[in-house]
Symmetry: C2
Subunit: 138 residues, 2 copies
Amino acid sequence: MNNIQNILRNNKLSVTEGRKKILQLFLNTEGALAHSDIEKGAGENFDRVTIYRTLHSFVEKGIIHAIPSADNSIKYALCKDECGEGHHHDHHVHLVCSVCQKTLCLDEVVVPIVNFPAGYCIKNIEVVANGICKQCNS
Amino acid sequence: MNNIQNILRNNKLSVTEGRKKILQLFLNTEGALAHSDIEKGAGENFDRVTIYRTLHSFVEKGIIHAIPSADNSIKYALCKDECGEGHHHDHHVHLVCSVCQKTLCLDEVVVPIVNFPAGYCIKNIEVVANGICKQCNS
DNA sequence: CAAATAATTGCAACAATGTTGCTATTTTTG
DNA sequence: CAAAAATAGCAACATTGTTGCAATTATTTG
């Protein structure tokens, strides 16, 4: 029935107003959300601390993933089903659009294989592209 | 003669104590530096604001480049010669070592070509790998 | 379903990080 | 070396992130 409740239940998180509201926001949003977006979008009477803690536990559980950026504004986006507690499998590329400023997950663009010199042990690779998205480019 | 002075001169920056000291730090350091590293390393009597402003102008001039990360701790590293005012050409991969915590520029590892679907316009691609560096892996 | 237990929230206080305007100082220029 | 330009330092403030604790809310158990 209720998709949101299920997601929380499946990840062994109590179903609370705050978590429901934040998860709803992610489900309704195309592109990634910064902490400040959530603060604005989740209604006025929302403690900042709750947002921090909710985002942390969502990341931990593999419900959302953090997208790095070079301008000190981490964004978060929903993970695909393969992610779970303690492990993320987000092998897609992210795009920051310089026109609409959105950060998008390009699920169809897979992170390429990078050849490292011998001696390195690579665990995971993040790719963030800067450019213009489909919508803004037309 | 003086390498540091030349770098500043070539980039049309006044040669000041602060800039010399911060540039020296970068030249002496293997790996990238965070703002806080510089604050610690540059001596006690250093205004934080000066560091912010110096880093900004170094990035603008193409002397250093910012390395994104998913944990809100931007680091900076020296650019190669091809970088200049207003344009960066850092087509190398970055590695964050989970053992020594250093962020390294792997100049020998070139950012691969990523194929985006039609409609996107890509300006630049950042690749950050997480893993273990050569030193720590031996 | 109510009581007991466990988990989460909100608050307050604080720490760290980043920004802006202004004046004093330093650097560069002529 | 003096005038002009650029930069540093200071203060004040805004934003972002963290921690401990008491009160509230959710879940579990009988």
